[in-house]
Amino acid sequence: MIDNQIIATVLVHLFIAILQLGFWRKTVPQRVLSIGGSFISLIFAIKLFTKVFNGDILIMHAANWEAPFGIVFVADLLSSTLVLLTAIAALAVSIFSATGIGRQRILYGYFPIFHFLVMGLNGAFLTGDIFNLYVFFEVIIISSFVLMTLGGRKAQLEGAVKYMAMNILASTFFLTGIGLLYGISGSLNMADLALIVPKIENRAIVDITATFFLIGFGIKSAIFPLYFWLPSSYHTPPSAVAAIFGGLLTKVGIYALFRVFTLIFIPNEFIRDLLLVLSILTILTGAFGALIKTNVRRLFSYLIVCHIGFMIGGLGMYSKLAILGAVFYLIHDIMVKTNLFLIAGLIRQMRGSMDMKKLGGLYAEYPKISLLIAIVLFSLAGIPPLSGFWPKIYLLQGAFENAHYLYAGALILGSFITLFVIAKFWSEVFWKKSPDPDTIEDKFKDLIGIRKIALILPICILAASSLYIGLNAEIIIQVADRISSEMLNTTPYIQAVLGK
């Protein structure tokens, strides 16, 4: 079905960003526009999601050039779910940014760049053209470079060099893959490629092309040997920026892997085994890295790496149950990881530090906020019936069904270490007595009411979404079930795009 509304979320963020450029150096209108615009895009995202959920795959031909010749935008259930989650996360982060981002950064254009970034994310999720995906990836990374360096502190710039080098390298690999793919197939439309690529006789060159995509997306989604840039850069930008990076940027890589490896390159034995081995190593290195970190945000960065492994493993097993689990985990992970970094920002406001050795006594001082944070931490660790628990059941079932016991072991170990790390985090930051009560600078206490709300409300929104995912798991399972069927049986997607 053709529906031009599917790019509404992309356009809303584009217009908001342009409008904000008109309010250069005026902080109040920029904040209002940002929150209002994110809210409007959330409404469009909900509309898109319900349309796709109750109906069929929607498509839009850019400039009315029909597929496979023109660029096509496709909203299947996976895309529209991710657009919805992006909209929720973007709303939360834009509310948090109103207080959590310093005035200086807003004066130098934080908000317009933030909206360009979210526009890129939405575009990447919705496009059905592989080169257009590359272009949206570039929109994302150039905006993220600016967000990462805005402020210009030494540590920030140092982190940005690593981030920039690795991301440009990833884009180069991705573009090389596209070049090879165009050379062997003569098409750029993903649905068209899905028809052409399986028929190519020279399988070796197809595998080489697939490997280029795996490396390119692997760097972006931080899987095992390619993840080192993530923990050494994600702790440097402001927490609101880290939240959108941690929640969504690595997940775009995961989305691209899911899309490319279920639609264009159906993984053969070699790629599946490779993905599984990489996922096990990603889980282990991420988990062990998280064990030794005392800086809250470095710890969370390693947890991102660890949990990326869970999802890659789901793709590597390539069975219905495993992919269902991986998709469910993706849905849960976006909400929780965004929230974790916002919580880190809140703790920083309350204590002026992110080092667990210097933190403490938050539970005595802020019991209600601490309980709110506890819900998020429990969701992350996967205490039943909260949201982290359900996908792991499916992933484990998938692992046992296909006799991937090593992955099952790594999954259990990874979850256990997550639980341990979270328990340590809780006791160090909330229960332990503050080691040095006199030196605390509590900026949070002195804030006026509305600014306090701006810091707490986003955490509430995301925690409520996590709770909803956990307590209404049967609905999310239904969604994830349909997404995984669409991924394994791509005929409806191809038919919708090519119209035959």
């Binding site: 470079f145 920030q156 710039l157 060099v161 920039m164 070049g179 002026g352």
Partner: protein
């Protein structure tokens, strides 16, 4: 012509990767630029080089009668060049700022322990 381009692409990729592996920031930048150019040449090559056959349908015909030069790789390369232009200029400014801050070209010195941030 193809063979020449293949050799050129190989050299560009190899030097690019080699320069990225070095510890110097300037070499990192040059490496990224060379890799980007190598990729552009690769796309150009894989679009099948045909000389003197512009993709214009002659009057009275509805489809192409013979082989024509594929315009899509050139459109892709043009896009990629514009993007890499933006990325490279950002990278130059960033590396210049970092150099001004830490006074060294060595990438191994980018690890000052992080105390605090917001």
């Amino acid at each position: 012509m193809e063979l020449l381009l293949i050799l050129l692409i190989g050299v560009l990729y190899a030097t690019g990767i080699y320069l990225i592996l070095r510890r110097s920031m300037v070499k990192l930048l040059l490496g990224i630029m060379l890799l980007g150019n190598g990729t552009n040449m690769l796309i150009f090559l894989l679009g099948n080089i045909t000389k003197g056959k512009p993709p214009i349908i002659s009057d009275g015909l509805k489809v192409f009668q013979d082989i024509y030069a594929d315009p899509i790789p050139q459109a892709l390369i043009l896009t990629a060049i514009v993007i890499s232009f933006g990325l490279t200029s950002f990278a130059i400014v960033l590396l210049k700022r970092v150099y001004a801050l830490i006074n060294t070209d060595d990438l191994d010195n980018l690890n000052t322990p992080e105390d605090e941030d917001i």
